[in-house]
């Protein structure tokens, strides 16, 4: 029972991070119509910045917040300078640019900070003894902290989308960009904000997951996260923030249970499992559980 609970906690923790990463993908997809495959590597880059700031003696919370601000700028500038000029041509071009950014940001991080793994300090008490016992299982405080940050972040995104003017305009642009422009919404600015917002969310995903990751912060830390988050976003529906959350948790739990109880999957096969999930979703329910828009070009 207690081992099951520990796996459950692990699953929820990882799933929470996949959920916010998936939400970053959803925010971009709703506006731009493509998956930003570079989202993970942009988050990697800002996580390195956060790590570097802590090495310079900044408190880890300050570092995380500065990193998320950099994430916003990185996302917004990318949209404005690289995505917008080529987006009008076709969706494939956007996808190719995203893939280019993927390798670009990864190489840049390697160039600046070399390929050695770094120890990213946790935002929360992360010692051996920082846990509470729940039903005989250990619930570590840093895992609990991740849940909390993710809940706050998701709450903030939903507030933004559903209770603010700018969120209303974002939903309008996602729904029908031409009509939004006809009512006076500056669609370009809204898309830029969307990419910036995704940059903030991604930064948090990176800062939260790196201390929990077995290899800490390395050049490949964010790649599996992006794969799981893509699976989560597809599972929930690429244009649905609710779907991203549900999908993220589902994938996290699935991963924890499969690696825990299915012996042959072991350490690296879960990513393959995630890919298998992606293929099945695309085959049988291309709009995902909560999605509405038919995906045509993926």
């Amino acid at each position: 029972m207690d081992i099951f609970l520990e796996r459950l906690f692990d699953g929820v923790t990882n799933g929470a991070v996949y959920a916010i990463m998936a939400m970053a993908l959803v925010v971009v997809f709703r506006g731009t119509g493509t998956i930003n495959f570079a989202q993970g590597e942009m988050a990697l880059f800002t996580t390195y910045i956060a790590w570097w700031l802590t090495v310079q003696g900044q408190p880890v919370w300050v570092a995380a917040i500065i990193a998320s601000a950099v994430g916003f700028v990185l996302g917004a500038v990318t949209e404005r300078t690289l995505i917008r000029p080529i987006r009008k041509r076709n969706d494939m071009a956007t996808l190719i640019v995203a893939l280019g950014l993927f390798t670009g940001f990864n190489a840049l991080a390697g160039l600046i900070w070399n390929s050695e793994n770094k120890n990213m300090p946790s935002l929360f008490p992360a010692g051996q003894d920082d846990y509470a016992t729940v039903g005989g299982a250990r619930l570590y405080f840093d895992a609990l902290g991740v849940w909390l940050v993710v809940i706050l972040l998701i709450g903030a995104v939903f507030f933004l989308f559903n209770r603010t003017r700018i969120g209303l305009h974002m939903r309008a642009v996602a729904d029908n960009p031409e009509s939004a422009a006809l009512t006076g919404v500056k669609t370009g600015r809204i898309l830029m904000l969307g990419w910036g917002l995704a940059g903030i969310i991604g930064s948090f995903a990176g800062v939260l997951i790196a201390p929990l990751s077995s290899q800490q912060l390395g050049l490949t830390t964010m790649f599996p996260i992006l794969i799981y988050a893509s699976a989560a976003a597809l599972f929930g529906g690429l244009d649905s923030p609710v779907g991203a959350v549900v999908g993220g948790l589902a994938i996290g739990l699935l991963e924890a249970m499969i690696t825990g109880y299915v012996d042959f999957v072991g350490g690296t096969l879960p990513q393959t499992a995630a890919l298998v999930i992606i293929v099945f979703i695309l085959l049988f329910k291309p709009t995902g559980l909560f999605g509405t828009r038919q995906m045509e070009r993926l």
Partner: protein, 236 residues
């Protein structure tokens, strides 16, 4: 000076020219209808006027040129388009659709008042206010599209084939309301239509479009009465 003065308007899609030098005016508070068959360039005219596609020639509105402005800037000047096919935000509620219509306004109380007013004019919108627009019938969506366009308080409302795909009873209801809005608010209307009869009843002046040019224009009355014009151009 007229409210809208269009001179030598050419526009199209990529290399394909659809409009070949169109001249057209709308006076303040006037109702003008542009009639024409499929492919005459009616929708292209509307898209060029609202800034959705680039054009050459001049468009002067309220004494200021609109040339080179995007759709968000054009609506800020007071020209609002009800696009063909309605273009409602199908996953947003009716109420949110109306709120987006006021994207350029900051007067919260005024926006609320306007939402109330259009919900009174179109009672179906009040009834469906919490429903997603995509669940509405075609006629209801057309009403919503008109109300949304009016939320920006335009001086000139452009309507691209508002009768398309609607039952005749709904069309006459819609045209009656458009007439009321024109009389009560003084909003000028520029409609493009294939449905000549109802549009002619509403309009004071008519332009007849053929392959991207105006081939006839005049008082709506003359178009209603003159048998030869009706036969030659309107197929009635």
């Amino acid at each position: 000076m007229s409210l809208l003065e269009v001179a030598g308007l050419t526009a199209g899609y990529g290399p394909a020219r659809v409009l070949h030098g169109l001249d057209l005016t709308v006076e303040a508070g006037e109702v003008v209808v542009v009639l024409g068959a499929n492919g005459a360039g009616k929708t292209t005219t509307m898209r060029a006027l609202s800034g959705l596609i680039p054009h050459t020639g001049t468009i002067v509105f309220d004494g200021e040129p609109l040339d080179g402005l995007g759709p968000d800037a054009v609506v800020a000047r007071g020209v609002s388009l009800v696009p063909q096919g309605r273009g409602t935000f199908s996953h947003l509620t009716v109420l949110d659709n109306l709120r987006v219509g006021a994207a350029l306004r900051r007067d919260k109380a005024g926006i609320r008042d306007d939402i109330d007013r259009w919900c009174e004019v179109f009672p179906i919108l009040a009834k469906r206010s919490k429903q997603e627009a995509g669940t509405l019938s075609g006629g209801e969506q057309q009403m919503l599209a008109v109300a949304r366009a009016l939320m920006s308080r335009p001086k000139l409302l452009l309507c691209d084939e508002p009768s398309l795909g609607l039952a005749p009873r709904i069309v006459s209801e819609l045209f009656a309301i458009l007439g009321d809005i024109n009389r009560e608010q003084g909003t000028a209307l520029l409609l493009v239509e294939q449905n000549a009869d109802l549009a002619l009843d509403l309009a004071s002046r008519v332009y007849l479009l053929e392959v991207g040019r105006v081939v006839a224009e005049g008082e709506a009355e003359r178009f209603r009465e003159d048998e030869s014009i009706r036969r030659a151009y309107l197929g009635l």
